[in-house]
Amino acid sequence: MIHYCIRKLLTMIPVLLGISIVAFALGKLSPGDPAIEALRRIAVEDPTAEQIEAMREEMGLLDPVPVQYGTWLKHALSGDLGESYLDGTPIGAELLRRLPVTVRLSLLALFWTLLFGLSGGICMAWHQNSAADKVLSGVAVFLLSIPGFWLAIFAIILFSEILHWLPTSGIDSWRSYLMPSLVLAASNIGVTARLTRGSLLKEMGQHYALVASSKGLSRRSVLTKHAFRNSLVPVVTLVGNYFGGILGGSAIVESIFAVPGIGKYALDAIYTRDYLVIQGYVLFTGATFVLVTLAIDLLYAVINPKIRLEGGVR
């Protein structure tokens, strides 16, 4: 188990480094000259060539790229991601302030995904090939095919404007999280339900399940006590991917529901061409995702004793 944890931690490092390189590269590739932007911020509207050159020198833009990366990474690790072009606020602090909202929203969506996805999948597998299975399968395909933003528009019209049950935007109370998180979870619920169904049916067809029924266990017991836990293995493996989808997709949902999370911050920054914010957003989301994936990997080891005991290869 310890071996497994250490290995997982070690594989995290190149991934985090890679993400930081991607984020850095995105910043480098962004149009516009950071020196001019910086001068503009200190109210130099029409800088001369010397002023620009001096600013470049000061900002380290003349150093070789790896050195620039090193400096940037050092700053980033200490939480300094630069300042917004727009209002000069520190980006790191702003992202950190907004992060809990996004994480709360994403975790809630993950919760819905697991709750409805697993229970739907179990229900489908239990009633395999019956009408209930077909209806739920239809619902699952519906959920994973519907465009999230389209669903969001309908949800707002129905629940906020017509029924007045839920607030349209902002995050004033827990009720504000309800609609965005469900919209965010929709497609993942469909995917999880289908995966769980398939995985459960596969496990129910395994030899050990047959042997379990030969001991006199009812079908229900075979499913709940034997097959279910094994069927979770592929589901949990993919939960990390779903969380990635949720975290990324939260930007769209945040923008529609006006939720002040990091996704909304990044999208607003795109409209105002505030590239450093986008860079910070990529770094933050990547790091959050990697950490959550790590947590899921550890959960995976709990479910699968083979990994816990042997540190087996995934």
Binding site: H207, Y208, S214, K215, G216, R229, N230, I303, P305, K306
Partner: protein, 312 residues
């Protein structure tokens, strides 16, 4: 010990195939007398495992089972699921083939064993634990406590074989069905399995159905032997008599192809399959009649039944 006989009448099992049905077991009637080991011998595709699994109704939803199987006054093929759950493991237990795949990889072995105790029988708590430990020790395991805490993938195939055997015994059943216990094992493991089965049959459960392709194992263990060929029961008789003097041409051919007997093969199909005997196309002694008509069951001597016109 002992329990009642199992009587199978006109069993036919079909599976859906690409076109129509494929028949795995074709109208077999068979008595499995209690108090002895009956061997069900045949090669792959002969339907021996299907027949064995049909007794416990574990063939899966796609199989179509026709016929009757009487045990303690009940027709198992028509029994309700609740009744079957009582019988499975409690009255008739299974020693499955492929022990490594027969155990749940994410559940400790001890729990899988105690599960049977909870379902059948009245041993609970410490008493049950002790019972399982004794059982494991009896089957030749040195440190049973440790095994209870392990998972199946930590154990060797031979160990898992003993665990599944113990699992079958936990419910103290009357009957045991052993499904291909030596499949894919090397000589050493095969001998171990033989000893486990012998131990069980001598001290715990006398009534057993041994499904196997392993003629030597059948010969060593079985009081009676039934030979299957493509879903048809071609010959039955007492173990030693059958081995000394096989009657059906297929049984003879099968024995001749044993490595110890010089591996003389059964000829490849020499003629078209007819409407009649299943073995017609490969039979060296086939007559014209065999291609037209199905042979019935003939009884050339006491206790032996052959489906072949040679004995009509």
């Amino acid at each position: 010990m002992g329990g009642e006989d199992i009587q199978i009448r006109h069993l036919t099992v079909k599976f859906p195939a690409r076109e129509g049905w494929s028949v795995a077991v074709d109208d077999i009637s068979l008595d499995l007398p209690s108090g002895q080991i009956t061997g069900l011998v045949g090669e792959s595709g002969s339907g021996k495992s299907v027949l064995g699994m049909s007794i416990l109704q574990l063939l899966g939803a796609s199989a179509k089972v026709e016929g009757e199987c009487w045990y303690e006054g009940k027709n198992l093929y028509r029994a309700k699921e609740k009744e079957l759950e009582k019988i499975r493991g409690g009255q008739i237990a299974l020693i499955p083939q492929n022990p490594n795949q027969s155990l749940n990889p994410t559940m400790r072995l001890g729990r899988q064993l105690r599960e049977v105790l909870r379902l059948h029988g009245n041993r609970t708590g410490e008493q049950g634990r002790q019972y399982v430990l004794d059982l494991l020790r009896e089957l030749g395991m040195d440190r049973p406590e440790q095994i209870g805490r392990s998972y199946s993938f930590e154990m060797s195939g031979g160990m898992n074989q003993r665990v599944v055997s113990a699992m079958g015994l936990c419910g103290e059943p009357q009957w045991m069905i052993a499904d291909e216990p030596t499949k894919g094992l090397d000589a050493v493991l095969r001998r171990q399995v033989y000893h486990v089965l012998k131990e069980i049959s001598e001290n715990r459960i006398r009534s057993m159905l041994l499904i196997t392709h392993d003629l030597q194992l059948a010969w060593k263990l079985c009081g009676r032997i039934c030979v299957l060929y493509s879903g048809v029961l071609v010959e039955q008789g007492g173990g030693s008599e059958l081995f000394r003097n096989p009657l059906h041409p297929y049984t003879r051919g099968l024995f001749e192809s044993l490595p110890a007997k010089g591996m003389h093969p059964i000829p490849a199909p020499v003629r078209e399959k007819g409407e009649g005997c299943m073995f017609y196309n490969r039979c060296p002694l086939a007559k014209e009649r065999c291609g037209r008509e199905r042979p019935g069951e003939y009884q050339p001597e006491q206790g032996r039944i052959v489906r072949c016109f040679l004995y009509a």
